[in-house]
Symmetry: C2
Subunit: 438 residues, 2 copies
């Protein structure tokens, strides 16, 4: 009977079974609702195609319900962490053709409903995909080059950045908290609030850079200007900060004026490629994701020419354990042109430009905490977001935030802070103890 | 008159002058001794060739004396940090043909004598070469591939390691100190003794790895077994340590027996490629330099299969800011088969093997301090070393140690400690504060 229920998945299934060195029961299918499953009852062709697709994703523990015929497709292994209800055949066929993008899109439209925790669901998919992917790094590397994100020429960068960061400061202020810092925070303890953690992040960055009164800083990509203002007000630095987002620069200038920091922080509405002058410190927190790999060496060259002979720099970026394209739904719908590099892929910033990497810290679990805080506030503000945009937008952003929690918790994404200096700089503390003193 | 003295160095000289955007006076030559320099007096052809070679090295501030004709060749720029006396024309021609290797060889034989500080001399050469090299990273990358170090197959590795590490434990104990640790130490302060710093290094490594009683550790390349014994005796770990050096393994086993650690530390006289079993921790301190780039991915694969699902690892290695071959004299005469990778070049250990890099620390200035301590002790023991070997050996090793101080002080070499874990391990402390607690 169990044998009768097995579907022959062809080559793929054979490979999987031999890889597992043994027999493994496949997803069981409950036939159209109201009827009992029994011998001779076959699953629908849709169910069989769905299971085949799920096998390519490593058989995540998810249950599916096909609304049009009431079929329940239970996972091949384990208890389901969530149930996905597919509204119609088109939704299913979209999922079969392009699971990543179409899951995101159909969830956004409501054609896929999720019963269960969204974070647990996406985490389960990441974990099962990681199992399938083991050893296929070359193919993913190739995939990374084929499915390149959009270009990041100065003009394209303006469009890409506008798409995301110019959604309105009112929208972001609903859930980013008063620091308006839209990058990974740093939690001295897991109990810290979002605001405490964002301030701790800025202090952690400033300490790593040994920022002191009178230091000049150039910041490449400054968001709403929070770090630049923090460096000026708390450390006495003189900061010039670059950003191509119109809305963010306007907000930053306004806030700097209100805080009386206009003389010490200058916000320049321009591309990082147009940075001029020489500084003691080069900082870039959360911009590298938008730079594009082909510009990394240029970014390093700009950092090099912007720094004095003993200048220090820090780049803070989402990264990966190995080269792979960003989740395609995220790259298409949320962050056009974005890419999360592996540490090796980041090296063209430093190695050809005579920089010495002093310190790399991976704080991915902090991003999971940060995103949980954002998601919590976003969820509480959903009614307001719906009024600003629409239900589609709410669902899209909910998935983006929840999916990002999952990506950082499963190690699919990393967060690297890279501290560097010029090769000739010997003014380097012997230990990193100084980063951990109050 | 100054113009008359200028030698036309051809293309190379033209490039240099245009790069400097201006006129620059070249090395002045004092004609054969006893006579006053004056108009119409031309430098010898040897002196002119030497100056041409020095220009390709960026004109280091070194004075040369040609013993056979008494000529003094002053540096093109600045006050000389040292004077090199060349014994004969053969020495000069060797230097012209292959400056790096022949300087080392002729210093070792005594055909080059140095008046002045050896460290300052080599540092000056590194600094001037770094100026010339700016921007030519591609050519050096190519050079790195052409001048590949010797292969590191298991058999070749045995020969390479035997060449250096089997010179005799009595020899090494003259200057390594009682810890017999032959890797970069860690100086909590610049005033720490060599012994304090070596113990601090081992504690720093153990803390990074969060080593605790009962943990199982595999060590790839264990030297004289100091770290393995430290992990067992101070942290209660159970350690299996691999090494292919006959002399080192014999010493380590003997010491472990004397310390009553035989049940907790096992020394295996075998190649790291033959590591078996699963462990909580994988450690490799100062072995990567001998692994060879083409084996990095294998090393990572071995680390992966040797670690439990939540295992931690640390690799400590000499490195570089960018890909470049090791100094050719060092690679030929001191460390056959050795290579110091850039951080990017190290990534094939981690990225294809689903490791997550948690922390990279660059402690190059600690290696300069360590080497200064070794050189000091070596110098004090020169008479004994001469009795064990000969004058040639003494001079060769003096240059190797002094040259290495210079390489780390000028940033020509780096020292990276890379802490890593499996992608799925979420048992990661939020901050690195734990590394800095006593």
């Amino acid at each position: 009977m169990a044998l009768q229920r097995l579907i022959n998945f062809g080559d793929l299934q054979d490979k999987k079974m031999s890889a597992n060195s043994g027999f493994q029961e496949q997803a069981t299918v409950t036939p159209p609702s109201g009827t009992e499953s029994g011998p001779g009852r076959e699953a629908s062709i849709e169910a069989r195609l769905l299971r085949r697709m799920l096998a390519t994703l490593g058989d995540p523990p998810i249950e599916f319900v096909l609304s049009w015929n009431g079929e329940h497709i239970k996972p091949a292994n384990g208890t389901p962490v969530a149930t996905l209800r597919l509204a119609d055949r088109n939704t299913l066929f979209g999922l079969l053709a392009d699971p990543t993008v179409r899951f995101g899109d159909s969830y956004s439209t409501g054609d896929i409903e999720v019963d269960g925790d969204l974070i647990a669901l996406v985490s389960a998919v990441h974990r099962s995909m990681a199992r399938v992917d083991v050893g296929s790094s070359l193919s993913r590397l190739v995939a990374g080059w084929i499915k390149r994100p959009r270009r990041n020429t100065p003009a394209a960068s303006r469009d890409n950045i506008h798409h995301h960061y110019d959604l309105g400061n009112d929208f972001y202020s609903l859930w980013l908290g008063e620091t308006m810092a839209y990058t990974c925070a740093y939690y001295p303890t897991a109990q810290a609030t979002l605001e405490q953690a964002q301030i701790a992040k800025m202090d952690h960055v400033c300490r790593k850079l040994r920022l002191k009164a009178g230091d000049t800083v150039v910041e490449a990509g400054c968001g709403w200007g929070t770090l630049a203002m923090h460096m000026a007000s708390r450390y006495g630095a003189k900061v010039r900060a670059y950003n191509i987002s119109t809305e963010q620069i306007a907000f930053a200038r306004d806030r700097a004026a209100k805080l009386g920091l206009t003389g010490r922080v200058e916000f320049v509405h321009d591309d990082y490629r147009n940075i001029t002058g020489q500084y003691d410190v080069f900082a870039s927190v959360g911009m590298l994701e938008h730079v594009g790999r082909s510009y990394y060496q240029d970014l390093g060259r700009i950092a090099r020419r912007s720094l004095t002979a003993v200048g220090r720099g820090l780049i803070h970026s989402i990264g990966r354990n190995r080269a792979a394209p960003l989740d395609r739904w995220i790259e298409r719908r949320i962050f056009p042109g974005a890419y999360a590099p592996s540490l090796g892929e980041m090296m063209p910033i430093f190695e050809p430009n005579d920089f010495s990497v002093l310190d790399v810290e991976n704080i991915r679990l902090h991003y999971a905490l940060t995103l949980r805080h954002w998601l919590e506030r976003f969820t509480a503000a959903e009614q307001k977001v719906r009024a600003m945009f629409d239900e589609h937008f709410v669902r899209m952003w909910r998935l983006y935030l929840a999916g990002s929690v999952a990506a950082f918790e499963t190690g699919t994404l990393q967060l690297f802070q890279v501290l560097f200096t010029t090769q000739e700089n010997n003014d380097i503390p012997l230990t990193r103890q100084y980063m951990y003193q109050n």
